[in-house]
């Protein structure tokens, strides 16, 4: 009996331990192209900022709005565009190309709301869309609100 077990152990005996396995598969895991991703997201984000500044000035001249209101209109425009592109399935393709250049601007916020709503549509209007629409965007609002109370109370106490 003992000999039998030993033979089986010998047959399967050359299995790798955990460390060797990790080193072995290291060659086959694709490395993230850190520098390329950084350059792409820098240029993409820059183009987003530049084009939204152009849009803001266009709103100022066409609609004769003050600068603050046209800023809000620019945000709303981006939200609407991102929401429609998400529904058409284009936004996910764009995100794989331009990385965080589309996640960090307000388009990412709109994308997270719309994609959660579309994904949970089949579970019903209330328990699907209603319960899950803030699934991803809720974290932004939650930590923003907590931060407001934190910094706001500190500033009211100090008077800053």
């Amino acid at each position: 009996m003992y000999i039998k077990i030993k033979i089986i152990n010998n047959i399967n005996g050359d299995y790798m331990n955990n460390k060797e396995y990790k080193e072995f598969i290291k060659k086959y895991i694709p490395k993230p192209k850190i520098i390329e991703n950084a350059i792409v997201s820098f240029i993409g984000g820059g183009i987003m900022g530049l084009s939204s500044e152009l849009l803001l000035e266009a709103y100022q001249t066409w609609l004769h709005l003050p600068r603050k209101e046209s800023g809000v209109l620019v945000i709303l425009t981006l939200i609407v565009i991102a929401s429609i592109l998400t529904a058409l399935g284009v936004f996910d393709i764009l995100v794989t190309k331009f990385k965080s250049a589309l996640i960090i601007p307000i388009t990412g916020f709109s994308h997270s709301i719309t994609s959660a709503a579309i994904e949970y549509r089949k579970e019903g209007l209330v328990l699907g869309i209603g319960a899950n629409i803030f699934k991803l965007a809720g974290t932004v609002i939650l930590y923003g609100t907590v931060a407001v109370y934190l910094f706001g109370l500190v500033r009211l106490l100090i008077g800053g």
């Binding site: 850190i34 991703n37 950084a38 997201s41 820098f42 993409g44 984000g45 820059g46 183009i47 900022g49 530049l50 939204s52 500044e53 152009l54 849009l55 803001l56 800023g71 809000v72 620019v74 945000i75 709303l76 981006l78 939200i79 609407v80 929401s83 529904a87 058409l88 990385k99 965080s100 996640i103 960090i104 601007p105 307000i106 990412g108 916020f109 709301i113 719309t114 709503a117 579309i118 994904e119 549509r121 869309i129 629409i133 991803l136 965007a137 974290t139 932004v140 609002i141 930590y143 923003g144 609100t145 931060a147 407001v148 109370y149 910094f151 706001g152 109370l153 500033r155 009211l156 800053g160």
Partner: protein, 116 residues
């Protein structure tokens, strides 16, 4: 000049977030929450207002501006009517963005079916 500033500021924020995303295990959810808190803290002494002044929409578009607007609206109301204004004015400036995003999300989910 404001165009170059807008390009550089928005690009720089996206660059930082992409570096965090590639080099750590944080997800986009973590990074957007982090940036909102950073934006809220930058409203102190009107630092972010200066960014908006010099970089224009380049500083309005990133998610840091969301935190800045939350604090800004709350502090404006709090300076007018006292500490209770912190709760009254918190969504004063961001309610347009949140409500439009919600309505668009609802409309899109009713009109379109999931792609995959």
């Amino acid at each position: 000049m404001i165009y170059i500033n807008a390009f550089l500021f928005c690009g720089f924020i996206c660059l930082i977030s992409q570096l965090i995303l590639d080099n750590t295990k944080l997800t986009p959810g973590h990074i957007t929450s982090l940036f909102v808190v950073i934006g809220a803290s930058l409203d102190l002494f009107g630092i972010y207002d200066k960014f908006v002044l010099y970089c224009g929409a380049g500083a309005i578009i990133p998610i840091t501006s969301f935190g800045h607007l939350l604090v800004h609206g709350a502090m404006d109301t709090a300076n007018d009517i006292g500490p209770l204004g912190l709760s009254f004015g918190i969504f004063n400036l961001t309610s347009a963005g949140i409500s439009v995003a919600l309505v668009m999300g609802f409309l899109m989910s009713v009109l379109f079916k999931p792609k995959h």
